[in-house]
Symmetry: C2
Subunit: 205 residues, 2 copies
DNA sequence: ACGTATAGAAACTGTACGGTACTGTTTCCG
DNA sequence: CGGAAACAGTACCGTACAGTTTCTATACGT
């Protein structure tokens, strides 16, 4: 019990919370709009409506601010539970294509990818924050499906997670291909049933 | 016929080819080693063993050099033709995981991804060069499989291409997950047969 | 009122970079 | 040899940026 219930406030003007939040929002906005190259301390301070001195009181370097901002990047997810894997998958993939078209995360991610490859702190912040959160939702859906016997037992669970994210990110980052409801539908079927024609072994005829 | 067969050489010392090639190689090396941020005109000139004046005689700006260098990025591919889609796919995916572990393209791509998102010229150079070449090989394999009736007819061909690249790039760029022979094998089966347990409709029992 | 510490504004320092200009040297042709 | 143009090397200019400092205003407790 080193802490009495009423913390004795230190003397002087108390630290405000607004500048911290404003700087983080400004950081994410600037990366989304102008890329990591556009993330300058002057631009952050100006956009956040704070002074650089105030920024540097909270973060020792620009990188510290970047890591904190990336860690604050989250997206709310509804975890579907329709009772069938196919409908749950369609819902999750539908959410994903909407998230990755036009939104701030969609614009941020290409820049973060490059930063992650060079900066382990940013890589960790993305993977254990934003990414882990989204993968947890998918893992929950897949676990339920597995319990219902809807998943092949011989598929690596980690690979299954990657299959869902793979095509979305591939189009977002590499090909620039369409991310729409049609993709969500067709991808659901392709992942669940494969692309190979049904062989004679499994042929219902 | 404004051009006589033997081109009259202009006066003065002729332009050498070595500096151009050296600058492009130095550019790709520098991006791979130090990222796009490490790509400075001084560093390129030093690494290439040429002078900046020689560089700027060939490229008006650094961006012009970057676009040329990216366009020169190719990887030789053997197009497999084993007679079955499964073996061809395994071979292509095996080549891919080897290409994307430890090689220069593997180190370049994260940086190029971010650049592509902001720079249409770089995006076009990657997509119509390096990427188009690799997708053409896969397309050839899939077309042959389709002709043999090994592919489901109701799958979008473009989506099929994306499925193969998706997981590889997702691990390379996003999760940092393993890119090895085991992935190539398991991914082949997952893509061809799906991850869903066989339904009663197709159940051979 | 007074002491203390944060806030904003802006000038300042040091450095890195893209691009240019200049010098002297080399390689071609006639 | 002599002219022309490319070459390496390097100094230079303007700009942009990270981070620091200074100043003044403001918000709290006593």
């Amino acid at each position: 019990m080193p802490d009495p219930p009423s913390v004795p406030r230190p003397p002087g003007r108390p630290v405000e919370e607004r500048p911290r939040h404003a700087a983080i929002e400004a950081t994410l906005d600037l990366i989304a709009e102008r890329g990591i190259r556009g993330l300058t301390t002057n631009a952050v301070a100006e956009r956040a409506g704070i002074s650089k001195a105030t920024m540097y009181r909270r973060w020792r370097t620009k990188e510290d601010l970047l890591v904190d901002a990336v860690a604050a990047l989250v997206s709310e997810i509804r975890v579907p539970d329709t009772g069938t894997l196919r409908e749950d998958a369609r819902a999750l993939l539908g959410d994903a294509v909407r998230l990755y078209t036009g939104t701030r995360p969609a614009k941020l991610i290409p820049d973060l990818i490059a930063e992650m490859a060079r900066n382990p702190r940013v890589a960790d912040a993305v993977r254990s924050g934003f990414l882990a959160q989204r993968r947890a939702a998918l893992r929950q859906v897949l676990d339920r499906a597995r319990a219902r016997g809807e998943l092949r037992a011989d598929r690596d669970p980690e690979l299954c997670l990657d299959l869902f994210g793979g095509v979305i990110y591939y189009r977002l980052l590499v090909t620039g291909g369409p991310l729409d409801e049609r993709l969500a539908d067709e991808l659901t079927d392709a992942l669940l049933d494969g692309i190979a024609a049904v062989t004679t072994v499994n042929d219902p005829m």
